[in-house]
């Protein structure tokens, strides 16, 4: 993380060139939703997540000259992820691994509209709560794997850990989530 803060070489502050802006819009901006989703799961707070994503994007803009290659998604998500972890560390009572926290579990307007049936809503709520209660390292790999479809290698890149660690975190995360969610409901969706 700290290596991003290298001294600016060209003048007081560098800015995106028109070509860089094009590239930024093409390679990074399309992953804004993924960035927000990840931040939302890591921080478990809508307001914090928005702030963190905005911070992360400002950093991404500032350090866009450090972006090489083509995988804008992994590059962006790793910045978002680091921004979120920095925030988590700064939270009072280092709020991770809290077993139960009423405030965090406010029901949000995830699926509005009366046409959404209650059973489905309850299912969504159960899964969300199960994820929210996992330790943040497990939540992170599960979101990246199941919701974003990243490979282990990409997850390793985002999280800055070896692939073996990704593998064991996913295995443990899944085990814990299975325990938390209990047996699958009889009328699952298939």
């Amino acid at each position: 993380m700290t290596h991003e803060r290298r001294p600016e070489t060209a003048g007081p502050q560098r800015h995106l060139s028109p070509r860089e802006l094009d590239r930024f819009n093409e390679c990074v901006l399309p992953y804004l939703d993924a960035a927000h989703n990840l931040a939302r799961y890591l921080l478990r707070d809508a307001h914090d997540a928005e702030d963190a994503v905005q911070d992360a994007f400002l950093r991404a803009i500032r350090h866009f000259d450090g972006f090489r290659g083509v995988d804008g998604r992994a590059w962006l998500l790793s910045i978002v992820r680091n921004t979120c972890f920095t925030r988590l560390r700064g939270r009072p009572s280092s709020g991770e691994n809290v077993e139960f926290d009423e405030e965090i579990h406010i029901v949000e307007e995830t699926a509005p509209g009366p046409e959404v049936d209650l059973a489905r809503r309850a299912a969504t709520e159960a899964v969300r709560e199960g994820l929210d209660r996992l330790a943040v390292e497990f939540r992170e790999v599960l979101v990246l794997r199941e919701l974003e479809g990243l490979s282990y290698k990409e997850i390793a890149q985002v999280s800055g850990v070896p692939i073996g660690t990704v593998m064991s975190r996913l295995a443990r995360g899944r085990k814990q989530l299975l325990l938390a969610l209990g047996p699958p409901r009889a009328q699952g969706n298939r």
Partner: protein
């Protein structure tokens, strides 16, 4: 292989992240072991459940607007303030362009084209869209009723913009406002698709044949330009390009059917 060894590797097995040899060993074990197969089934089910039921939190429009605005203004700051850097950079760009022009005329042509579109009406349209989301000034007249929105423009513009009701097709009208584009006041109509807002900018453009361009992307937004019934339309949204295209088509037909002035 023992059940314990297999269970420990089920997760990467499911993700197809084991080397082929390991993977085959596990498959062989699974073929013969119902309880490990059960365990794999549960894990699969969990994965499906997460994909189907875990909420996904897309970025709110306001955040999208702030972020793309930040990138855009960073880039324009670079062009305006970087006097010494800018001049040398421009010099270098010029030199590079000359060299490249000699090397490849086609390449220069495309890059020039990009540069032109960079400063064109599309950016103006996107900026207006972003401003409307940011400044809390989405609509001057907030109404889902076309018969309220359309007359509102009377006396404010020197033309009467067609306002279609597309709610039955899943694009409810939110309202309208005055905007300023291409050096003239224009009508901005706001529609919605799920949580995505669509700005439609309209002004008269007589003498142009009916046409529609495929969606283009600028700063992460999709833009469609179409002309029909003597009006030019610029449609912009973060909605996916497929749905925005069908919206464009609806607008073209709905506009003709109903509310021509």
């Amino acid at each position: 292989m023992l059940c314990d060894d297999v269970l420990e590797r089920l997760s990467p097995f499911l993700d197809d992240e084991l080397d082929p040899l390991r993977s085959r060993e596990i498959q062989q074990h699974l073929d013969a072991c119902p309880s490990c197969t059960d365990a794999l089934g549960r894990m699969k089910e969990l994965a499906e459940r997460l994909r189907a039921e875990a909420p996904y939190y897309p970025a709110p429009d306001s955040l999208r607007a702030r972020v793309s605005q930040a990138a855009w203004s960073d880039a324009s700051r670079g062009r305006v303030t970087g006097r010494h850097i800018g001049v040398t950079a421009r010099g270098w760009l010029g030199a590079a362009a000359t060299v490249i022009a000699i090397v490849s005329g086609t390449w220069l042509f495309t890059s020039l084209q990009r540069h032109v579109s960079f400063g064109s009406i599309e950016r103006e349209v996107v900026s207006s869209h972003i401003r409307s989301l940011m400044a809390n000034h989405l609509t001057d007249v907030a109404s889902t009723d076309q018969h309220t929105v359309k007359p509102w423009f009377n006396g404010k513009l020197d033309f009467s913009p067609p306002v279609s009701d597309l709610a039955t097709s899943g694009y409810p009208l939110i309202g309208g406002r005055l905007d300023y584009l291409r050096g003239r006041p224009v009508a901005a109509l706001v529609y919605q698709r799920r949580k995505h807002l669509i700005n439609v900018f309209a002004w008269p453009d007589e003498g142009v044949a009916d046409a529609e361009t495929p969606p283009r992307t600028q700063q992460g937004y999709h833009i469609i330009h179409e002309t029909h019934g003597g009006m030019a339309y610029w449609i912009v949204s973060d909605l996916n390009s497929d749905e925005l295209s069908s919206f464009g088509k609806l607008l073209a037909t709905g506009g003709e059917k109903g509310q021509r002035p």
